[in-house]
């Protein structure tokens, strides 16, 4: 008997440091930055499932509706999260959306460029703006908060002034007719998996219009972009060298520099990333609406940062996840649409958004302390 118990004892001693508390699986999961957002998203779905389960919110049309809103926010939230992990902010995302919109609309409508050329032009401008933001932050060492706040005003003002100068108004309509047969625009303007919806409609599984076509016609392009970006950025963060550099640049830029991480280049590329994401957002919206508006994207930068924070990004950088930001955007999109299906006044949405962010920050702060806690 005694020998047996002894052998068991030595075995446990060998496997375990007696000073180390057993780490439960739950605890390991808690260390993942996106956990809070995942939990939040599940809660939100349970809530609306109970409150608005029979209202049509979860019909094919309703689901695509809130997914579209989430996806649009998600596209910029993911880029904002990447930049935040890299230790910087971009407050010019919203203004970049407006700017990119008119960069597409004015050449296409007033200068007679083909649509694809205008789209390429808008993306080139995005790369320039992002590069300028990045180089300014890296070279001056000023907080990106200030630099990009300045860019917020500059871009919005320039958008308004240039549009009025060239067109005499603040909106540029008339793009819809140009989309057809354009070799590039379809990437940003095509609903996909239409056959699935047609089939579902023919089987009478989803709601139909009076003419017999399904109400929900296909997956909107924003959703495809959103999912693709979420997968690619998560892969970059977890599996590539560049991903490791992003964490390192945000976690400790001097330290990273000292071991040979090109911190400046990493940060500049991330600023280009947010500007390009804003342009993807803008292109999808402009082609969907058929017009560009100088005020489009106002305050979107703050929503994107809020979604990134809810998704587990620390404001100090070096920690966070892209998939978390995607969940953050899903929470905001679902609630902003779902609230229409409930009896709650939609005015309360902003209150929810703020409260959600506050809870997330407190939670993240607690997690950060847990992660960096010394023995």
């Amino acid at each position: 008997m005694s020998t047996k118990s002894k052998s068991i004892e030595t075995k446990t001693d060998f496997n375990q440091d007696e000073r180390l508390k057993k780490v439960s699986k739950l605890r390991l999961l808690l260390n993942r930055p996106e956990l809070g957002a995942l939990g939040g998203a599940i809660l939100v779905f349970i809530f609306f499932g109970i409150v608005a389960g029979d209202t049509g919110m979860f019909s094919a049309y309703g689901v695509l509706n809130f997914l579209d809103v989430s996806a649009n926010l998600g596209i910029i939230a993911i880029a904002a999260a990447m930049l935040m992990i890299g230790g910087e902010f971009d407050l010019s995302i919203g203004s970049m959306i407006g700017f990119a919109g008119i960069c597409i609309a004015i050449p296409a409508i007033y200068w007679g460029w083909p649509l694809w050329m205008s789209i390429i032009f808008a993306f080139s401008m995005a790369v320039l703006v992002g590069y300028f933001n990045g180089i300014l932050v890296v070279k001056t060492g000023l907080p990106s908060f200030i630099v990009t706040l300045a860019m917020l005003f500059i871009l919005r003002g320039a958008t308004l002034a240039l549009t009025r100068l060239i067109t005499g108004r603040t909106q540029v309509p008339g793009l819809r007719v140009l989309i057809e047969d354009d070799p590039l625009a379809w990437i940003f303007a095509t609903d996909t998996f239409k056959w699935v919806f047609t089939w579902l409609g023919s089987m009478n599984l989803i709601a139909l219009r009076t003419d017999g076509t399904p109400l929900a016609t296909g997956i909107p392009p924003s959703v495809i972009w959103f999912i693709a970006l979420a997968i690619i950025t998560t892969w970059i963060l977890m599996k590539t060298r560049y991903g490791n550099w992003i964490f390192a640049s945000g976690g400790d830029k001097n330290g990273a520099n000292n071991v040979g991480v090109p911190v400046g280049r990493v940060k500049i590329s991330l600023f280009i990333g947010t500007a390009v994401a804003a342009t993807i957002f803008a292109t999808i919206q402009v082609l969907d609406a058929g017009s560009a508006d100088t005020m489009r994207g106002t305050l979107k930068e703050l929503e994107a940062i809020a979604a990134a924070v809810v998704g587990g990004c620390l404001l100090t950088g070096g920690y966070g996840s892209a998939i978390g930001a995607a969940f953050g955007a899903l929470i905001f999109g679902t609630v902003s649409m779902g609230i229409f299906y409930t009896d709650v006044d939609t005015d309360w949405f902003k209150v929810f958004l703020g409260a959600m962010m506050l809870i997330a920050v407190i939670f993240n702060n607690y997690i950060r302390r847990k992660v960096t806690e010394s023995k």
Binding site: N244, A248, D252, E373
Partner: protein, 262 residues
């Protein structure tokens, strides 16, 4: 081939009118630990940055393995095998042990253009290397923030050695550590030297330097007060040289008492 692994001859560095370093000479053989002693403001930081390739010396020459070289950047110094471990250790506390170990030099796998960070291999190497110095990382994906100060120091040194350091420049590796932790780190430094590395140990703590050093260079107000073999100089003499003389004689007595107590 020179008998010295690395030589810094008559290094001077000026910042405008300020003479930060003047005619500092250091020579190191393989397996040797040279302690660079100096009080605050003695020019230690400037010297470290010159060794690391951050500053270019205004005068003097650097000879590595018999070849005269000029460091244009920290990368140049690193490529020549001179690795500097700064006080901040260049560790990111929010990142895992593995990700820190390979930060900036990640092992890759896969096809060209689709190369990914080989995290499994990295985990294995990191755990193995830490194990060799007696630090059992239960989980190499744990954040560095959960490690003790001594463990972090050892991680930074171990990383430098893994990536091919021939000369280790250590900036105050024991200054933030308790007695036990400091002795763990010092033991590791001696072990590293015994494997053929040359170590420049920068410190203002004679009590940490004296037991491990083979030779001692004392820096005072940007100038070297000379290099001494261990057999030619006592701990007390070093201490008084560092402080620049008489004024600390009284303190020295007190320190010795404290030392005895320790």
């Amino acid at each position: 081939m020179s008998e010295y692994l690395v030589q810094f001859n008559n290094i001077s560095k000026f910042f405008g009118k300020v003479i930060a370093l003047k005619d500092v000479t250091m020579k190191l053989k393989k397996g040797e630990i040279m302690c660079l002693l100096g009080d605050n403001g003695a020019g230690k930081s400037t010297l470290i940055k010159t060794l690391a390739g951050v500053h270019r010396p205004d005068e003097g020459e650097i000879i590595v393995e018999g070849k005269k070289t000029i460091f244009d950047s920290p990368k140049d110094a690193l490529d020549m095998g001179i690795a500097t471990v700064y006080q901040d250790l260049a560790l990111v506390s929010l990142m895992s042990v593995t990700r820190n170990f390979f930060m900036g030099r990640e092992p890759m796998k896969g096809l060209p253009f689709f190369k990914t960070f080989d995290i499994e291999k990295a985990n294995k190497i990191a755990a193995e290397r830490m194990g060799q110095i007696g630090i059992d990382v239960r989980d190499p994906s744990q954040a560095v923030g959960t490690m003790s100060g001594g463990e972090r120091q050892c991680l930074a040194i171990s990383r430098a050695i893994y990536f091919g350091a021939k000369v280790l420049v250590l900036d105050e590796p024991t200054s933030a550590l308790g007695v036990h932790q400091a002795s763990v780190v010092l033991k590791y430094i001696v072990k590293a030297a015994s494997q053929g590395l040359a170590v420049i140990l920068i410190t203002h703590n004679v009590h940490h330097a004296y037991p491990v050093g083979n030779s001692f260079t004392v820096l005072n107000r940007g100038k070297s007060l000379g290099t001494y073999e261990k057999k030619n100089i006592s701990r007390e003499k070093l201490l008084s040289m560092m402080a620049g003389g008489e004024e600390l004689n009284k303190l020295e007595v007190e320190l010795q008492e404290m030392n005895r107590k320790n």
